[in-house]
């Protein structure tokens, strides 16, 4: 399936994009993180982020669906 992946903060700098289209062959958010690390080795030493799916924070066991918008959220620092 195809996911739209939004990148923010330091993760956007590490990958060099704000947004990528990602072909995903797994099922859950945990699978997604593994595939992400394979596609972007520069993330292998950076795991401080959490995942949001369709604008809500997601757990590792959440199932991803085709066309979901997945955001990689490094530690926030607003305020």
């Amino acid at each position: 399936m195809q996911l739209q992946v939004l990148l923010f903060g330091i993760v956007s700098d590490l990958i060099g994009e704000n947004e990528v289209s990602f072909i995903f062959s797994g099922t859950t958010v945990a699978d997604f993180k593994k595939e992400l690390n394979t596609s972007y080795p520069q993330l292998q030493n950076y795991n401080a982020y959490v995942i949001a799916v369709n604008e809500s924070y997601a757990n590792d066991d959440q199932v991803l669906l085709n066309a979901d918008v997945v955001a990689i959220i490094p530690p926030v620092s607003g305020g």
Binding site: F8, A48, I73, P74, V76, S77, G78, G79
Partner: protein, 140 residues
């Protein structure tokens, strides 16, 4: 009656707007928190800050914080406004205003809102120094 005002904007934030929104004849007090850009961090001189946000989700999270504050505390109205883009020293990145019949609830709700915002709202700040730049809190 709308009890919540949420804003994420690249315009200058307005204290008056937040105050006027929460002001209400049934209130005995208004509590306002104003975040400001300070000129140094860990003894390094800060030139400017650049705030970026996941806009739609940030607004959603700010709304959820405001709803929880109204639920949890005896308060009437709440405004949570946050700036994005480049801010200079002394500029205002965030304003939270809360009105209530009694001050204790207003203080508590205001603290709850700013603490929650700093934990969950997807907004990131990059500090720019004379000799480089760094994403704040990126390596916890």
């Amino acid at each position: 009656m709308n009890s919540i005002s949420i804003k994420l904007t690249s315009e200058k934030l307005s204290l008056q707007e937040c105050y006027d929104f929460v002001d209400d004849p049934t209130c005995g007090g208004i509590d306002v928190f104003v975040g400001t850009v300070r000129n140094q961090t860990q003894e390094k001189s800060v030139k400017l800050l650049d705030f970026s946000a996941y806009g739609p989700m940030a607004v959603k999270e700010m709304n959820s914080i405001a709803e929880r504050a109204l639920d949890k505390f005896e308060v009437h109205k709440i405004a949570i406004h946050h700036a994005e883009g480049v801010l200079q020293i002394g500029d205002i990145p965030v304003i939270i205003a809360v009105s209530a019949a009694h001050r204790a609830a207003a203080f508590e709700a205001c603290q709850f809102a700013i603490d929650s915002l700093k934990e969950t709202v997807p907004i990131w700040k990059k500090e720019h120094f004379e000799d480089g730049e760094v994403w704040v809190n990126a390596h916890p």
